[in-house]
């Protein structure tokens, strides 16, 4: 049997490479410690690039690794153009980047535009020297009266978006923590400083940026300070700057908003998009969980049918889990729909409402569900973003608190510190998982590599199949419904490549009849095993699926070609 499509080329010059890429988010501090100081570092990450290449990921996303007091996981940056001391040096970064590129792996890095740490020299200068070069870099005010329509995002810790600075004797504006003053984007010098910092990393060769918290860059009286026209104008400026100097690099926006608002961050529809290349699709993730919980396809079908079209050179990014808590409030703020009520009604989901847990514990360590979720991640429209450790079903540590519980060291081996570090165990910044179910003795890469039926091998195989089928990256999405509401079935089509994905969201075995008249005569080929199924006839096509079962079928356009 011949596969119909060429595998994705890592060296491709295709400016739309990101549409077919499988992304992998990796926290450097938690992946591999090469120096024995208990903190993962760039050299350690470089050592494990062979593993990532073997897994088949196309692009790494590195959350912030810049100098930082680390009061917000590194999103409080105190120097935009350096590497945090415990992680390595600029030379280490260059070496890592070259090593990644030589394996055909691209790298995008986080970039936090909205605010800096209060330890950033710009802020220190701004507060002590209001008339100096950085005096106007932040949003200062004599009073805390302005912009009262802007909501407070971190309601648990912050009482106001204004905080009094006794040094300067004024209030400064912050949409997030009070130790993260917002930069003043009405100051052209701030634009220049941002573009200079981007250029620094682009010159080093990074393949793009995940832009953190983009909706909040500007403040305007009488608005909620989100998604303002000025913000879009600045993003167009960034895009043009990047395109002009470094074509083919990608901008991925974190705009935790309803899709109808997020699409604005792609920019102009007619030109194919002139702001960000990619945006995260936030609501689809909790809907996947809800659909499986409800054993109903409608939560997923609805959100996808409500998702607007996007410009042709743009793409969604989708994920199951990442390093952040994903508060449902942020997804549902704009939502007239019923998701919040659904979760609130359900004590069990409510316990997980922050969804600050890893995939495996969220799914009760059920391999069937993990496989189903991963299959959905790899086949729904949008580029999948895997989270380090989920490919081996790593657990979390709820005793570490919300933030750090899902950021524990990668579990490489059953040896000391899970093979993550040679440091004295007490020196690790975060302890390895040691519980009986998810502990590193049981769950680790070495064991999963040795066992070809492991989740790791399975995930690798699924990534390979995805890469062989351009339809799964580039193709159209058609929800084909079907007789059984517990089964989500959809077509992905790109040119001659047609994939039929059928997913049983129920824990029980289910039959489904699918209307596949437009493929009459075609013999579907199940892609994991290459098994040819009976030809599609005049009548609805009957399939049966085990609990949480799924199929990825290839639908060869030419029925004769697949015959005996």
């Amino acid at each position: 049997m011949s596969e119909i499509a060429q595998p994705i080329s890592h060296e491709s010059d295709d400016p739309n490479w990101f549409k077919r890429a499988v992304f992998y988010e990796v926290l450097i501090r938690s992946f591999k410690d090469s120096s024995g100081d208990g903190v993962g570092d760039l050299r350690g990450l470089a050592e494990r690039l062979d593993y990532l290449a073997w897994l088949g990921v196309d692009c790494l996303w590195l959350p912030p690794f810049f100098p930082s007091p680390l009061r917000d996981g590194g999103y409080d940056v105190s120097d935009y153009t350096d590497v945090a001391e415990d992680i390595g040096t600029i030379d280490d970064f260059k070496a890592f980047l070259d090593a990644a590129h030589s394996r055909g792996i691209r790298v995008i890095i986080d970039f936090v535009m909205n605010h800096t740490s209060d330890q950033h020299p710009w802020f220190q200068s701004s507060r002590t020297d209001p008339d100096g070069p950085y005096g106007d870099f932040y949003v200062w005010s004599d009073t805390d009266d302005l912009y009262q329509d802007a909501r407070i995002i971190f309601v648990d810790t912050e009482a106001s978006n204004w905080t009094w600075d006794p040094v300067r004797g004024e209030y400064f504006w912050h949409r997030f923590y009070s130790h993260q003053p917002d930069l003043n984007f009405d100051n052209p010098a701030v634009h220049e400083a941002m573009l200079d910092a981007l250029a620094f990393w682009l010159d080093l060769g990074v393949d793009g940026f995940r832009l953190d918290a983009v909706p909040y860059l500007f403040e305007r009286e009488g608005t909620n300070g989100e998604n303002l026209p000025e913000t879009h104008e600045f993003l167009r400026k960034v895009r043009k700057f990047v395109d002009d100097g470094w074509p083919g690099r990608v901008l991925l926006a974190e705009a935790n908003q309803w899709p109808a608002d997020v699409v604005d961050y792609y920019g102009d529809f007619d030109t194919g998009g002139d702001e960000c290349h990619m945006c995260f699709h936030f609501p689809v993730m909790p809907r996947i969980f809800m659909a499986v919980r409800r054993e109903s396809r409608y939560p997923i079908s609805e959100i996808l049918s409500q998702t607007p079209d996007i410009p042709k050179n743009c793409h969604w990014g989708i994920f199951l889990r990442n390093h952040d808590e994903l508060t449902l409030e942020m997804v549902t703020d704009e939502d007239r729909d019923y998701m919040w009520a659904e979760y609130a009604k359900d004590p069990r989901m409510k316990a997980n409402i922050g969804i600050r847990r890893r995939l495996a514990p969220l799914l009760d360590n059920d391999v069937d569900q993990m496989e189903l979720f991963t299959a959905l991640l790899l086949s729904l429209p949008g580029s999948p973003v895997l989270y380090y450790g989920d490919e081996i079903g790593m657990g979390d540590n709820i005793w570490l608190g919300d933030r750090d519980g899902v950021r524990t060291p990668m579990q490489w081996t059953p040896d000391r510190n899970a093979g993550f570090s040679s440091a004295t165990p007490g020196r690790l910044t975060l302890p390895v998982i040691m519980d009986p179910v998810f502990g590193y003795q049981a769950v680790n890469v070495e064991a999963d590599l040795a066992n070809t039926s492991s989740l790791l091998h399975w995930t690798r195989r699924m990534i390979q199949i995805r890469q062989q089928h351009p339809a799964l990256g580039l193709g159209t999405f058609t929800d084909i419904g079907g007789s059984n509401p517990a089964v989500l079935s959809f077509l992905r089509e790109f040119g001659d490549d047609a994939m039929l994905c059928v997913n049983n969201l129920s824990r029980f075995a289910q039959p489904v009849e699918l209307d596949l008249r437009s493929f009459e005569g075609v013999r579907p080929i199940e892609t994991l095993g290459g098994v040819e199924f009976p030809a599609i006839g005049e009548l609805p096509y009957l399939l049966t699926l085990g609990g949480y079962g799924f199929y990825w079928f290839r639908l060869p356009k030419n029925p004769e070609a697949s015959g005996p």
Binding site: V292, R293, R294, E295, S296, Y298, S301, E302, S305, Y338, A341, E342, K345, D346, P347, R348, D479, I480, G481, G482, S483, N484, P485, A486, S506, F508, D515, R517, S518, E520, E538, L539, P540
Partner: protein, 458 residues
């Protein structure tokens, strides 16, 4: 020869799900053969035939579109009716045209070509595009009609039993479509005969949007019950398959439907004397039901007292066109929300009665009964343990309440505020169900009987 063909035709018809005369003694009373839709060169030759079957002295007109071939084509054995000697074309092999792709194309051609041959007319509400290249597919599971999916997005519902005059399904769909109601699948067109012998014309079929993503509300609700019963002792609100959010949205959809029906079609107000007449009708139906099912007798007095309360109700009731036969099987869950289908009313009733104005509370009562049925239908009632009984009741109560909440929130009128009327309609429906089950599924009689017991007690 004609007698032989008629025997073959009757044999074919009596095997079909849509044949209403099962179990009775039937004979063919006559066949009206509409003119050919095809030319003499075409194969198959296609025309609509209206077949009157007399079952136990009661005539019923059926629509049988026919496809005639000179010789037997392959793969159509299941639709073979018999051989027919045509006065002009000689011996032909006759098939049910709704199983024949080519013949279906001929039947629907009139939607796009404004073709008015063959004694039938095609009407459209706006331009329609019928994809005649793509093979149509027949939906399974239908009782009294035959529905075909045409292309990707159109559904042709062919009425098998036809009566002179406007089909209420088309009438209601047309009015609601012109109102742009979101509670239905929009009507795109319909097919009718020209007046036959300068007399009556018959509505033959309707063309509406096919909701590809839809799934059946009855099966969807039952999946929730099944999910509940698979858990040993969780409550209905604790299991993953909880249906209450869907029931609430369905209530909102039915409320919107009632608003739309009231806006699009005639309305009226019932005064005390109308309610007294309604009570009389319900009483006489109850008397008939008790006669047919003596199991109802112990409750008869209490039930009748509910009608007494109705008869003495000193209030007015808004009446309007309603669905008339509303239950979960008439609902579809689509990506965009719930949709209500089939506005023919109870097929067994005469046309005038099906079109009569009534209180929307009657539809609400039908849905409430349906939740009860969905809950109970997963377990054979006679084998139900007390624990199962309790859990099933809990599911039904939870979803009935959620449905009423959704309805009340959308309409601004809570059916529970019309308790006397709601109870009366529920009793009427449940009593009918007892009789139906006694005749058809005696082991299921417990489902409506326990409802009767509850309704008699309040």
């Amino acid at each position: 020869m004609t007698a032989e063909f008629e025997a073959q035709l009757l044999h074919y018809m009596s095997d079909q799900r849509w044949f209403a005369g099962k179990g009775g003694v039937s004979s063919i009373g006559g066949i009206v053969r509409l003119p050919w839709l095809t030319t003499a060169e075409d194969e198959p030759r296609v025309r609509v035939e209206l077949v009157t079957v007399i079952t136990d002295d009661v005539p019923q007109v059926y629509q049988v579109p026919m496809a005639y071939y000179d010789t037997e084509p392959e793969r159509m054995g299941h639709a073979l009716i018999g051989t027919y000697d045509d006065p002009k074309h000689g011996r032909l092999v006759a098939y049910d045209a709704l199983h024949d792709r080519i013949a279906i194309g001929t039947l629907v051609r009139g939607f796009v070509e404004n073709d008015r041959s063959g004694g039938i007319t095609h009407s459209v509400l706006g331009p329609v595009q019928v994809d005649t290249d793509m093979p149509s597919v027949m939906l399974t599971g239908e009782q009294s009609n035959t529905s075909l999916v045409l292309g990707e997005d159109l559904l042709l519902k062919v009425f098998r039993t036809v009566v002179p005059g406007r089909n209420p399904d088309i009438e209601v769909h047309e009015a609601l479509t012109r109102l742009d109601s979101s509670a239905i699948a929009a009507l795109r067109g319909w097919v009718a005969t020209k007046p036959i012998d300068d007399g009556d014309s018959y509505d033959l079929a309707m063309l509406q949007d096919f909701l590809r993503s839809a799934s059946d509300g009855w099966e969807y609700a039952r999946a929730s019950v099944r999910d509940l019963l698979m858990e040993a002792d969780l409550h209905a609100d604790e299991v993953g398959g909880d249906f209450a959010a869907e029931a609430e949205r369905l209530g909102a959809t039915v409320a919107a439907l009632h608003d739309d029906l009231a806006a699009a079609l005639e309305t009226d107000t019932w005064k005390a004397r109308n309610l007294a007449r309604l009570a009389d009708r319900l009483r006489s139906r109850l008397t008939q039901a008790v006669a047919a099912a003596p199991e109802l007798a112990p409750y008869a007095d209490s039930l009748a007292s509910a009608y007494d309360a109705l008869a003495t109700l000193d209030t007015t009731v808004g009446v309007q066109r309603i669905h008339g036969d509303l239950h979960l099987g008439q609902t579809l869950r689509t990506i965009g929300g719930w949709v209500i289908i089939d506005f023919e009313g109870e097929p067994a009733k005469p046309l005038a009665e099906r079109r009569a104005l009534d209180s929307p509370i009657r539809d609400v009562a039908g849905m409430l009964r349906s939740f009860d049925y969905a809950a109970s239908s997963m377990v054979i009632p006679t084998e139900m343990s007390p624990q199962e009984h309790h859990r099933i009741d809990e599911w039904a109560e939870r979803n009935r309440a959620a449905f009423l909440d959704g309805y009340a929130a959308t309409r601004g009128d809570d059916p529970r505020d019309h308790a006397v009327l709601l109870r009366a309609y529920e009793i009427d429906k449940a009593a009918y169900e007892v009789v139906y089950e006694k005749r058809n599924r005696p082991t299921w009689m417990g489902i409506p009987l326990s409802a009767i017991e509850r309704l008699a007690g309040t």
